[in-house]
């Protein structure tokens, strides 16, 4: 990735807040800080993995990036244009170049429509060719994702979970987007099928030069697909850097704990030091002061309890939000 090139996608200080409660006076209602001042850049052709536990804001961020959600603060630049201010018409044009793939393919496919119609729909909406041209494109897309052209005549329920996800991917590819934001696209699938879909994502990237933001909670899946990885905790990015380096020698204590908690399929592996985190992720309604991770961090000091660390380079070539980053040994 050349560092000089303009990123395909850039988030600048993006926050997403929700108000909970329905008191007449706004000050009596609480605010959920789902995403807190996130800045990141995604270069053309790379895959940025977004990991974190449930409630960390990774899905909310993914939906802000594609403007399925409106941001509360900050800007999102796609191809250099600020998409947070686009009107309806410009937004529709934008959708042809960025698409999303979701966790539950069955929920995103209308059960009453044939697979061919489902994939053709975006092509029809955006007037991409004659009927015959669209039909040919649908057949090509089905083959692209490892299905058969004749599957166009069937209904979604006739397919297994893995095949339904292939249909979801074909649909996302229909308008030839440059960017795909995939939100847990393999976590609902059986292990053997999960590997097939991971391979499909990688093949498509190679063939079509796609850029991905790949959101997942499974670290080994993220490691397999990502060029870089961003780790989120309580709405903020705590570490972002090259996948291999970050996952083999993390700088943030939370990243370290997260990796150590993954059960390794090898009982003979030398006993890894497992860091069992005490307690739960704090509520994003009432985040702790200072570093959001300090109540569960084994290395926390007085400074961590009062001063919030900023995400910045720390001498190892990537960014971490920690006052006392680990040095990798």
């Amino acid at each position: 990735m050349s560092g000089e090139a303009r990123p395909l996608l850039e988030a600048v200080g993006v926050s997403k807040r929700y108000r909970v409660g329905n008191h007449l006076l706004a000050r009596f209602n609480k605010v959920v800080h789902a995403v807190e001042k996130v800045s990141l850049a995604v270069q053309e052709g790379e895959t940025l993995g977004l990991v974190g536990e449930s409630g960390c804001g990774k899905s909310t961020l993914g939906r802000c990036l594609t403007r399925l959600y409106e941001v509360s603060d900050g800007h999102i630049l796609f191809e250099g244009t600020d998409i947070t201010v686009l009107g309806a018409r410009a937004l529709r044009a934008l959708r042809t170049r960025m698409q999303m793939v979701f966790q539950d393919p069955a929920a995103s496919l209308n059960p009453r429509r044939r697979v061919g119609e489902l994939i053709a729909e975006p092509l029809i909406v955006h007037r991409r060719g004659t009927r015959a041209e669209i039909a040919a494109r649908v057949r090509a897309l089905l083959r692209e994702v490892g299905l058969l052209a004749e599957h166009a005549e069937r209904f979604p329920h006739e397919f297994s979970g893995g095949q339904q996800q292939r249909i979801g991917i074909a649909r996302a590819l229909a308008l030839a987007p440059r960017l795909i934001v995939a939100d847990e696209p393999v976590s609902a699938l059986d292990a053997s099928v999960q590997a097939q879909i991971v391979n499909l994502f990688m093949d498509l990237q190679e063939r079509l030069g796609l850029t991905y933001v790949f959101i997942a909670h499974d670290l080994s899946v993220v490691r397999q697909v990502s060029t870089r990885v961003a780790v989120m905790y309580l709405g903020a990015i705590v570490e972002i850097g090259p996948t291999d380096e970050v996952l083999s020698a993390p700088s943030h204590p939370y990243t370290q704990a997260l990796i150590s908690a993954v059960p390794v399929p090898d009982p003979a592996a030398p006993n890894r030091r497992r860091i069992i985190l005490e307690g739960d992720v704090p509520s994003p309604i009432d985040p702790p002061p200072g570093c959001p991770f300090h109540p569960r961090c084994g290395y926390a000091t007085e400074r961590c309890r009062s001063e919030r660390p900023v995400l910045s380079e720390h001498g190892r070539g990537w960014d971490v939000a920690c006052h006392f980053p680990l040095n990798g040994s």
């Binding site: 536990e53 449930s54 297994s160 979970g161 893995g162 095949q163 059986d190 292990a191 053997s192 099928v193 999960q194 590997a195 097939q196 991971v198 391979n199 990688m202 093949d203 909670h217 670290l219 080994s220 899946v221 490691r223 397999q224 291999d244 996952l247 083999s248 704990a257 997260l258 990796i259 908690a261 993954v262 059960p263 390794v264 399929p265 090898d266 009982p267 003979a268 592996a269 497992r274 069992i276 985190l277 307690g279 739960d280 992720v281």
Partner: protein, 347 residues
Amino acid sequence: MSGDRPGSIEAGPILEVRDLAVSFRTERGLVRAVDGVSLTLGEREILSIVGESGSGKTLTVLAVMGLIRDPNAIVEGSIRFRGRELVGLPDGEMRRVRGGAIAMIFQNPMTALTPVYAIGRQIAEQVRAHRPLSRRAAARRAIELIEAVGIPNPAGAAQRFPHELSGGMRQRAVIAMALSCDPALLLADEPTTALDVTVQAQILDLVRKLRADFGSSVILITHNMGVVAEIADRVAVMYAGRIVERAETAALFREPRHPYTLGLLGSIPPLEGARPRRLPAIPGTPPSPFAIPEGCPFGPRCRWREAACAVRPELVAEGGHETACILTKEARAAARAQSLAVTAGAA
């Protein structure tokens, strides 16, 4: 806590399942979802059953629990718990066996909790169903159990409603409820699948502690090979309603013999070392119980299939390691080397 439990000193297996078959009468004919499963579980043993959706792993333990209530289901074979036959036992009898000694936890803790009562009250209710205690004593016992599963501030937590607890805490509350009968046998169906990895690690620790403190035997169903490696003494791999491989955990991971097991292990992206360019995925999908292939059910997805696979292979033991596959020792070694080569053919 439960040292005086009668019967816990027997040396024999706590659970013995022979030729278990679960079939359903459907519009499309009789469907056999579990087909001739036999297994034994020793005292204090943790057995993992691994498989994908439709492999029959959940139905197998539901049959042990006597919880298959579908009027169109037919359960055949023998299930002996501490020597006592459970298949065909009248409902009332079964409830006594179950309540007094067998407990089950599910993937979604909310299937076992009601949203309208505080968890302390729900656990106390279970305690009173098993033991003649006063309300007050049961409430005290509930708080002890909440403490035993590692929920912070047990007395305070007892007053909380399920929606006020995180997923991990709810699963702990359900485990506390399961412990109310001092179970000799705990059946856990994907207990950590819905949880985050850091919470999963906490729950697996708790299951290990149950064995140590309460002497429970555990059957843990999972699809996650990492969880198996972490916790199980022995593993049974199920495919299309049958056990296709069974061994001690260390042996299974050191020398997986069935091509399906090899495929499952290869499907997991490594967390360390070189990344494979492609994952050696198993082609196709697990068969539907309506269309289980003739002969070896894994045949259509198997890279090493041969003519002899048209006959269904039996589960054959070889030094305590059982496999339902016709591959010879040499062929298996070659298959292993081949799938390892794919994994190692990395970037």
